[in-house]
């Protein structure tokens, strides 16, 4: 009977339950997503150039566990808030406390387990989709990739089972301690009165100090190692918490005192924010954390992604060189689009010991080279020279690496032109007639440069594959040109690139569900407040503005602190990245756009629920 009543009240507040259920499901899904990777040790070790990657993922797992724990506490409080009035009513009609407690316990567990099961499936789907789509987008094919592993599943199940049980027990204890009367009037308990300003002052300053300390440690992470990372994390999280909890309220109060303005709804906004910031302290702390993690992960991922073409283009002037093209390879070469250079050089090789090239070919058609700037090759000065060379010697002297790469390609890594025939194969340039009569196995090499290797991905990959198959003496670094280098770099950096993008997706999703969930849980209280304001004479557009401003500040805080975190945190990657800020611009734009869209959606939903509209006939 009691269960029946409980069930019918759930139906009554279906919307709230759907919000709650969705939030829980996403939390489980993201946890699963992360745990699946974190427990795939083979994948991590095969795909990372960071030595302690597994350990970093373990720390990450703890961090996410902490975030999820706080998130589940919100969800649980939300459930309690939803239910306690109804439970109070049930008790007024004669249900005993233990009956009601059991009901609540059962409800918590049922909701939690349902969300866990659905969440795990959603998590698997998310992992599979994100994983495969990302690898496609980044042209990666990472070894040991799985969207599911047993250990990850077990960790997820155990984690949520433990927390849900604790939540259930906590709810029961809470119900036992609470007076019936308080249950009946339990609608607005989630707002606390602001405390004395002196405390805000002390904690506010402390928060800022902790934050700065964490930035300093991050800067010196190379000397401090893993302990430094953990310390920085703890200082940063507690600093963020205190800043939100105290510094910002202090600033709001000073602002209010300084302007002393009563104009419009300014005082209302400040009052709302003061209340919200103390009620949202934990929420905004974890949202800041997730924002920073998403932005940081994307910056690093994108940084590596951008490094690949830069490094590649600094290493070769042409896209690919094909030795002795077969019919099929010729067909593939013809398929390439945006070809800016294509020429074929003849060679003759004697017993894999002597190599002849035709001098004339090299003085008639220019091999694309990387112009040197001092000894460094720079991407900017890349060009196909207009002047021709008197002979190959000149080319070899002026642009040693250009010729070298070609010879490496022809001789399967067995020659080094700058060392002047110090390699296993002796290379020399003959004049036209001498070359024509020279004996040896003759062949050709076709040098190609295309505008965009990404646009020709499949064809180029096929060419590399067939070259490897056709020449048994080729190894991965024998085929020269930017594209083979890109392939090489991808296998070296792709893992980090992928993890960066993947984690950014996970954190952004979790962030979205957390912030929206909590912000929207205030509409019931605010509906009344905005109605009062409209009775007092505030017009609809002013109300909408006021509401958008308030939510804007709530969204803005994690964004600003998150940006600071990432700006000061990125130097931690110095040991593995040339320019740590390389991907920051891109990541900032992407994350901010998503975040703003997400803000607009929240405001839209909020105002829809508040029904800020004059009913006019």
């Amino acid at each position: 009977m009691l269960s029946k009543i409980a069930l019918s009240t759930i139906k009554h507040r279906l919307k709230d339950f759907i919000v709650l259920f969705t939030g829980l499901t996403i939390a489980v899904a993201i946890f699963f997503m992360f745990t699946t990777i974190a427990n795939n040790r083979a994948f991590l070790e095969a795909n990372s150039i960071i030595q302690q990657i597994t350990l970093i993922f373990v720390i990450g797992e703890f961090l996410l566990g902490f975030i999820t724990l706080i998130y589940l506490t919100f969800a649980n409080n939300f459930l309690l808030q939803l239910r306690q009035r109804e439970y109070g009513l049930l008790m007024m009609y004669g249900a005993t406390k233990s009956q009601v407690s059991q009901l609540l316990f059962r409800e918590t567990l049922i909701l939690g387990s349902l969300a866990s099961v659905v969440g795990i499936f959603v998590g698997m789907a998310l992992t599979a989709i994100a994983g495969n789509v990302l690898q496609k987008l980044l042209y990666l094919n990472l070894p040991h990739w799985q969207f599911f592993n047993g250990r990850g599943l077990i960790v997820t199940i155990v984690f949520f089972a433990v927390i849900l049980t604790i939540n259930g027990i906590w709810n029961v204890l809470h119900l036992k301690r609470t007076q019936l009367n308080d249950l009946l009037h339990a609608n607005q308990v989630n707002e606390k009165l602001p405390t004395k300003m002196g405390r805000y002052f002390i904690f506010g300053i402390l928060g800022i100090i902790l934050m700065i300390l964490s930035f300093i440690i991050m800067h010196k992470i190379a000397q401090m190692g893993l302990m430094g990372l953990i310390l920085a994390l703890i200082l940063n999280v507690s600093g963020t918490f205190l800043i939100i909890r105290a510094s910002l309220i202090l600033i709001l109060n000073v602002l209010q005192k300084l302007t002393g303005s009563y104009k419009g709804l300014r005082r209302f906004t400040i009052g709302q924010l003061t209340f919200r910031l103390s009620a949202f302290d934990k929420l905004l702390t974890i949202v800041t954390l997730m924002f920073a993690l998403a932005l940081g992960a994307l910056s690093v991922g994108r940084g590596f992604q951008m490094t690949v073409p830069i490094l590649a283009s600094q290493n070769s002037a042409y896209t690919i060189a094909i030795k002795d093209p077969t019919k099929q390879e010729t067909a593939n070469i013809d398929k390439l689009t945006g070809v800016t250079f294509k020429t074929t050089y003849q060679y003759k090789m004697v017993n894999k010991a002597k190599l002849y090239l035709s001098k004339a070919e090299f003085s008639q058609v220019n091999l694309p080279v990387l112009a040197t700037n001092g000894t460094m090759q720079t991407q900017e000065s890349l060009k196909i020279p207009k002047t021709t060379y008197a002979d190959a010697k000149e080319l070899a002297n002026k642009y040693p690496s250009a010729l070298n790469q070609l010879l490496v390609n022809i001789t399967a890594n067995n020659v080094n032109v700058t060392a002047n025939n110090m390699g296993a194969i002796d290379a020399s340039f003959l004049n036209k007639t001498a070359f024509a009569v020279a004996k040896g196995q003759s062949g050709s090499i076709t040098v190609i440069r295309v505008k965009d290797y990404n646009a020709n991905e499949t064809t180029l990959a096929a060419l590399v594959k067939s070259q490897m198959a056709n020449h048994s003496d080729f190894s991965t670094d024998t085929i020269t040109g930017t594209y083979p280098i890109v392939q090489l770099l991808r296998s070296y950096m792709g893992g980090i690139e992928f993890m960066g993008f993947f984690l950014a997706i996970a954190f952004l999703t979790m962030l979205a569900s957390t912030l929206m969930f909590k912000v929207l849980s205030n509409t019931a209280i605010d509906k009344k407040r905005y109605r009062i304001l409209s009775m007092i004479g505030a017009n609809t557009s002013l109300l909408k503005q006021t509401n958008a401003k308030e939510i804007g500040v709530i969204f803005g805080i994690p964004m600003i602190i998150g940006f600071l975190d990432v700006w000061f945190g990125l130097p931690m990657f110095k040991p593995i990245m040339g320019n740590v800020y390389l991907g920051f611009g891109f990541a900032a734009v992407v994350v901010v756009i998503l975040y703003v869209l997400y803000y607009l959606l929240t405001v839209f939903l909020y105002q829809k629920i508040l029904a800020l509209k004059q009913k006019h006939n």
Binding site: L193, Y262, R529, L533, I536, G537
Partner: protein, 250 residues
């Protein structure tokens, strides 16, 4: 005498688009003279709140006109309607309708801040009304730190601080005990007489209604009887009200 409120043939139909429309108001005609204190009584579901909500511009009527100070309020656009509400009307409702995130001072000051009034003037007006309602000690507290009677007085202070010409009350004593209720009604009739502020109040409580000069009885969406106090004492009027209510119940 001039009328502050003139209502003509007002109807309110709920759920018009459903297959079961419900007529809550069936053609109400009503006048409230300048400075008059009028109460509306009637059984639950008779349409009292519906009527008040339309008059107070909180809800648009299905048909009919409502003129306040000769202005047809439902011809105003949203901006002017809000301005009109802010400057001319004051509201006191059964739930106190205070904003928990503002302290008492800021709650009372709200209507004035919306009208872009100078800070010094706002302070003066708030302190004055707080003194009248015996709230001076509470100004720095938050609503959750107040008793029911105090909250209702804050709500009244906020309704009065901008010196509206018309006050609406929906069960303004509904959540108060009899002592607090008497105090609130005494206060309302005092400002009605001294400041010439018109009051229209909905109540189911005969005692509260007996403070008015005129009582309309509403039943099933229509005004079925009107009782006037004339020069009778409040106590006598109270007895009349009780008798009339008794007749209704027969």
């Amino acid at each position: 005498m001039k009328n502050v409120i003139e209502v003509n043939n007002l109807t309110q139909v709920y759920g018009q688009k459903t297959n079961k429309p419900y007529k809550a108001l069936k053609g109400i005609d009503l006048q409230v003279a300048n400075g008059e204190f009028v109460a509306i009584m009637g059984p639950s579901g008779s349409g009292k709140s519906s009527l008040l909500n339309v008059l107070a511009t909180l809800q648009a009527p299905t048909s009919g006109t409502v003129k306040v100070n000769n202005q047809d309020i439902w011809q105003l656009n949203d901006k002017n309607l809000a301005k009109f509400r802010g400057e001319t009307l004051g509201f006191i409702f059964q739930e106190y309708n205070l904003i928990e995130s503002l302290n008492v001072f800021d709650n009372i000051a709200l209507p004035l801040s919306l009208q872009k009034i100078k800070k010094a003037q706002i302070k003066k007006a708030v302190h004055l009304v707080a003194k009248q309602l015996n709230l001076t000690e509470q100004l720095n507290k938050f609503p959750t730190e107040l008793s029911g009677g105090q909250k209702q007085r804050v709500a009244a202070a906020r309704a009065l601080v901008h010196q509206p010409s018309l006050i609406f009350g929906d069960e303004p004593t509904g959540a108060l005990d009899s002592n607090n209720a008497r105090e609130m009604m005494n206060y309302l009739s005092a400002i009605n007489m001294e400041n010439n502020i018109s009051i229209l109040m909905v109540t189911h409580d005969a005692f509260s209604a007996s403070f008015a000069q005129k009582i309309h009885f509403l039943s099933d969406g229509q005004i079925v009887q009107t009782l006037e106090r004339h020069n009778a004492s409040r106590e006598d009027f109270y007895r009349d009200v009780l008798t009339t209510l008794g007749n209704f119940n027969e």
